[in-house]
């Protein structure tokens, strides 16, 4: 079977106006506009099988959203080819629209001022979902996402978490084959995040949905996507199993410490206490940030040493984000031993669909 999503040598260039600062620059631009070309996506090859769940990660501006827009038919590629469910999205946008669905964490497709159920009904009409299927899907969505109490409420009165649940439901009304999730858990609390992930996972297994997820949240990826594609400056820097990356680079942890104000030599004292661990210590406005290798020492030990050495008021533990990993990968602080962009074999996926 051919891949459900594929791209070959995909390129997208934008032309941006180049303006000098200030009024003089604005006037000059008006008289003689100058443009610069920005390459947002630079020769990307993608091949995703039906039912796969893939994380698409990279720092801000890496070209993730642009790729999604190319795959959804919103943008026209500058070069290369795209194929989604056998349709070329930008040529046959409407046919593509029936096969896919997009959820943006920062936007809602719900009508703002009318009850949520009306948005669902309208989407059912737009995609011409047969009445019986509509009812069945609605029942399922209401059940799994617990939408019952929300359906009568206008979207503007929903909390962010409630809104995202409704948005996810709205995206699935027409039983798409491919679901694009663009930072779906941004700004959500832990409980809501967990629930959304669980839901997406369940939809995947139940419906054979193919999911392409962009996120800065390692948790999202860990839970949902066995496979990860990393992008930087428009190019793929890694395409392979997610576990592989975290096993190699996810060991870095950071303790953020808030100190009582009367500690001038805190950094030095913390450094001395943790000397055998060799942490990286940065002084911030309110305290310290201690970065260490979680393979050589547990966070519990680090915290214990810190609490003894300096007057700790408050303390949080941060794991390395996907973004940091990608950034460090690209900066060359961390490198893969094997050549990058090794073709990924879904058949031999060590972690089959859950």
């Amino acid at each position: 079977m051919p891949p459900i999503v594929s791209a070959k040598r995909l390129v997208k260039r934008f032309r941006r106006p180049k303006k000098a600062p200030g009024l003089a620059g604005a006037v000059r631009h008006l008289l003689r506009p100058r443009h610069e070309t920005v390459t947002a996506v630079d020769g990307v090859d993608l091949s995703i099988e039906e039912g796969e769940s893939v994380a698409y990660v990279g720092p801000n501006g890496a070209g993730k959203s642009t790729t999604i827009k190319l795959l959804t038919g919103i943008l026209v590629p500058s070069a290369g080819t795209v194929d989604v469910c056998g349709v070329r999205p930008h040529i046959d946008r409407q046919a593509n629209a029936r096969n896919i669905s997009v959820v943006f964490g920062q936007r809602t497709q719900l009508w703002w001022d009318i009850p949520v159920i009306e948005s669902f009904r309208l989407l059912g009409d737009i995609y011409a979902v047969p009445a019986a299927d509509y009812r069945q899907t609605m029942d399922e969505l209401v059940d799994v996402l617990d939408l019952g109490p929300l359906l009568g409420v206008p979207a503007r009165q929903l909390s962010l978490g409630q809104r995202m649940r409704c948005d996810l439901g709205a995206a699935l009304i027409h039983a798409p084959r491919v679901l694009f999730l663009d930072e779906p858990t941004i700004g959500l609390d832990v409980a809501v995040k967990a629930r959304l992930r669980e839901f997406v996972g369940r939809m995947r297994t139940r419906r054979g949905l193919t999911v392409l997820l962009t996120s800065h949240d390692l948790g999202d990826i860990e839970e949902l996507c066995p496979r990860m594609i990393m992008l930087d400056q428009g190019r793929i820097v890694y395409d392979g199993a997610f576990d592989e990356v975290t096993r190699r680079f996810g060991w870095e942890q950071k303790v953020v410490v808030t100190l009582a104000d009367d500690t001038a030599d805190a950094a030095a004292r913390a450094g001395a206490a943790l000397a055998r661990v060799g942490p990286r210590i940065e002084t911030t406005g309110t305290g310290l940030e201690v970065t260490f290798d979680s393979r050589t020492v547990t966070s519990g030990e680090v915290i214990k040493e810190l609490a003894l050495a300096v007057p700790v008021v408050d303390l949080t533990l941060e794991e390395t984000s996907a973004e940091t990993i990608v950034r460090r990968l690209y900066e060359g602080n961390l490198t893969f031993q094997q050549p990058v962009r090794q073709s990924f074999q879904p058949v031999g996926d060590p972690e089959p669909d859950r």
């Binding site: 827009k69 943008l75 029936r98 943006f104 001022d113 009318i114 009409d125 299927d133 039983a175």
Partner: protein, 280 residues
Amino acid sequence: MTAVEDVVTRRGRRDTAGPKYLSLARTTLQQAIAYRITTFFNVGLTFIWVIILYYLWRAAYAGRVSIAGLTWDQMRTYVVIAYGINALVGWRTGSAMMATIRTGDIVFEMVRPLNYCTTQIARALGFTAVEGAISLAFTLGIGLLFLDIRPPASLPAALLFGLALIIGFLTKVLIVFLVSLLTFWTLNGMGLMWSQQAIMQILSGTIVPLALMPGWLQVIAQVLPLRGIVSTPLQLYLGTTTGWSVVGLLTLQVGWLIALWVLANLAWRRAFRIVEIQGG
């Protein structure tokens, strides 16, 4: 065949263009009702102009039977109904189109199986159902109670007026749509909206009947599509145009409508090709 594919095939058979746009219009109507108080004031405020114009014209007609072929009875009627028609496609329609472009929410309209121009007409219909109803209430209320407006010249005149009104509505929606597409390039809608509003009110004959404009402006106004929005329906209503001229007027209206439809679709495709969706 999986359940999903099964749904896709069955859906293919059921898919017709009609219901989805009607449903879209209905939803926009619901949305517009949510803002009924704002809408009421927006429409109501434009009718202040009717009062001002009424007194201006009354002064101008002192001691005269007709100006530019219109009697005082006709002129009164013209002024009130012109504002009623003008309020049919209000500020909201254009600003809603521009807002989706400016905020980037247009991505959702692009990932749905919809013709974009038809979508805009369907949404405008939804707004118009509310704005139009309020505008009708104002027109009839002010017109009948205070300004003594006249009924249509005859039954055929009334029917032709209705027809011209519908074509005029579609014309205005497409023009507003074309102007809002400029937001793709400028990203600032307010200035566009204001100039569009002003030009449209003058050249459609909302403020002054076309016959009263200076010669050169009259020539411009007569060939442009804007006259079809207010002036043409009113000429038919008042019965000041008869015989073959009626056919001429309607042909011009329809001709422009088709041209604008083609133009709107082309412009959309062009905008679509160079678009950079805002905000990510």
